[in-house]
């Protein structure tokens, strides 16, 4: 894991270094002009006048000491910037992942009961549509539908700052209202994966001997489906969910941009554009951490489903 982190840091540092232009150019842009002395001074201040390997070495040493440095663009500690945004991304990513799993499995089970029927076809089409549509397009479409024409959800942000209530539940429901559309948008990409995987796996299990036994025992259809068949067909879905966790994190960048969701995605996007190396590297380290934790949770869930699995 530490090795992975080191490779992530070195590779990203290299890639960012290869991109033309640096923070001095970006600052010149936000200023609407620049002065050559100021630009030289900035490069010196941020150590950008040093040779590449010295810059890299300095950075790796600092990260090893858990110092993520200061954002060149905002002049704020990177750790604070990330911590400010981290909860928002965590909320978005986990809720979307859980939603897409829940709905995907539900649809998969439903479709598996009548694999060649009309409803199965409908489920397939619906999930494929979500998979094929670009996520920013889905996002804007949902905004036009549910913020403009049927104005029930807000267009941007995570909370309404004009609310002056101290009641926890008022704020809780406010965040929930803001979360709804971004969550659906992000989840829409993964309905297809989960529902199709679940359907295929259910079909296989439904033909297995133990299901026939369960039916022969005279169990109700519901018990056969949920207790015997579903539990045994979930492993591939959960495994895949764990693997696709990194894709959910990267999908969050686009969703966050469309909905101005104040998470790590928008921060990452901005720091690439503004060549804010310390911030971007900090985010990458955190994403690596987040994906690792996601994988751990997957393993734990798998173990709970099938006690034969050892971690």
């Amino acid at each position: 894991m530490l090795l992975v982190l080191l490779v992530v840091v070195v590779l990203n540092f290299l890639m960012l270094h290869l991109a033309p232009g640096d923070i001095a150019d970006t600052i010149a842009q936000t200023m609407g002009g620049a002065d050559e002395q100021d630009m030289a001074e900035l490069r010196k201040q941020y150590g950008l006048d040093q040779p590449f390997f010295i810059q890299l070495f300095n950075y790796v040493v600092r990260v090893a000491l858990l110092d993520f440095g200061h954002s060149h663009f905002y002049n704020l500690p990177v750790f604070d910037l990330i911590m400010e945004r981290f909860p928002a991304t965590l909320l978005l990513v986990f809720s979307a992942q859980i939603l897409s799993l829940f709905v995907g499995i539900l649809l998969g089970v439903y479709a598996a009961q009548n694999p060649n029927g009309l409803s199965s076809l409908f489920v397939n089409m619906f999930s494929l549509f979500g998979y094929a549509a670009p996520v920013f397009w889905t996002g804007i479409l949902l905004l036009i539908a549910f913020s403009l024409h049927i104005p029930i959800f807000p267009v941007s942000g995570m909370r309404d700052i004009t609310i002056e209530s101290s009641n926890f539940f008022v704020h809780f429901f406010d965040v929930l209202r803001h979360l709804f559309l971004p969550m659906i948008t992000l989840a829409s990409i993964f309905f297809a994966y989960y529902s199709r995987l679940c359907r295929a796996s259910m079909l296989e299990v439904l033909g297995a001997d133990f299901v026939r036994t369960a039916k022969a025992k005279g169990l109700s259809k519901k018990d056969v489906l949920l207790k015997h068949a579903l539990k045994n067909s979930l492993s591939p879905v959960i495994t895949f969910a764990g693997l696709s966790f990194s894709a959910v994190v990267s999908g969050a960048i686009l969703v966050e941009t469309v909905y101005s969701w104040p998470g790590l995605g928008t921060l990452a996007f901005n720091s690439i554009i503004s060549r804010d190396t310390p911030v971007l590297l900090g985010i990458l380290i955190f994403s690596t951490l987040m994906v690792t934790v996601g994988n751990l949770l997957t393993d734990l869930t798998l173990k709970a489903l099938d006690p034969r699995i050892k971690i």
Binding site: T30, Y74, L81, E84, S156, N270, R275
Partner: protein, 524 residues
Amino acid sequence: MNKHFLKTLLLTATLIFTSLGVSFAEPKKGGTLIAAVGNSPRHLNPAVQSGIVTGFPGAQLFATPIRYDNNWEPQPYLAESWEISDGGKTVRLNLVKDAVFHDGVPIKSSDVKFSLETIKKNHPFKTMFAPVVSVETPDEHTAILKLSSPHPALMLAMSSQLMAIIPEHVYGDGQDPKTHPQNSENVVGSGPFKLVEFKSGEHIILERFDDFFIDGRPYLDKMVLKIIKDPATRTIGLENGEIDFYAFENVARNIVRLKKNDNLTVTPDGYAAIGPIDWLAFNTKDGKTADVNVRRAIAYAIDRNFILKAIMLGVADEARTGIHPGSPFYEPNVEPYNLDIDKANKILDDAGYKKGSDGMRFGLTVDFGWPGLKPNAEYTKAALKKIGIDVTVRASADFPTWAKTVSNHNFDLTWDTVFNWGDPVIGVHRTYQTSNIKKGVIWSNTQQYSNPKVDAIMEKAGVENDMDKRKALYSDLQKMLANDLPVYWTNTLPYHTIYSKKVGNPPMGIWATSSPMDMTYIKD
């Protein structure tokens, strides 16, 4: 008859008074303005950070000595009056007596001196205060600026976001003002609003400063600036009423769409001093574009009207020179280079650029500074094909990539948007001065254009205090530049302000939202 007349008179009088009563109604106090901004500022201190993104919150947090009205006339602000003497080399500012910073400390002339010196040292626009040699502070409410030469740009340089008065007792503590922690939090300002919260990438919340030095102002209790990067999201927010106000909209499609909304007012007014101009810049030193004939032929082959109608959808204005059409110095009577393909071909034929067997004379590249100019670059390829120039459109991944290319002079043609920033000395001279050819610096004279006559006329105009004489000099300058054509100017960037009908007195001066919004209010 008499009675009837009296009745009519009475009725008329009543009507007049009611209408007066309506139009001069005292703006309503209180309320919250929800505004959107497209980018997150680096920080909120305009003394060390220029640009329109910091300008909006910056002008609310910090007052300046002077402000401007809609007609380019300077008005008192933190300086209640001023006198210019000694042939323009001494400028005396008489400050408002009871002004205080947000922490209650009085604003003194020493703060003005400190602010000016900080700006002179740290602000990227070095021309603003270059001739200011010293600032004398004979008493707490008088600041006397001593100049080495007359400097007509000084008045604009002391207005709006360009000369924020910052507290010496906060920013003079020895830390580098550029990276001072109080640029982003616990900001101690001098303007109509004080900072409640700044969350980068999320929002800026401002609150009415009760001890602001203009009695009864500002009218608003609160301003919330939501940072929303996605233009489509912003547009939907304005349409469904979640956002009351957005300035600096420049996407033609969105402007046209929002104009159809009855609940919104969409106006191009208020951007004259910002002065954004779209243009096609030439590399005047290297390659084929070093030949003025090639530049002229290209200008004749590019149809400005096509850009205005098809790309800008009719919401932008024609700009024939490098000075914004809203500026008093704009000279429209220059060679306009209206579309003339035959003339363009003839110029190239006469200059000896023969067409090859494929109908092409030579190839050029065209870059563009930001995604909004991509259609212009693509149009350039199509337009110049007609005169036998094979254009390759080079797309840059992002701004720093493009800036590296152009500032190191590795280009033939590039589309760009450049701002006037008030006085020509601040934002216009830099593009054409020989002394400002600076490799690696974007928005310097990246064309590498050099004409001693042009240099001389700019130098003269920069120190001419007589407005009419100055206008004449800039008129000559614009004609000479149109002749040499280091840049082909096409149109203004169509900045528009969009606001809900419930917003009264939106900022319509020359500096748009980079000016104090102490008079803006929310109607019932």
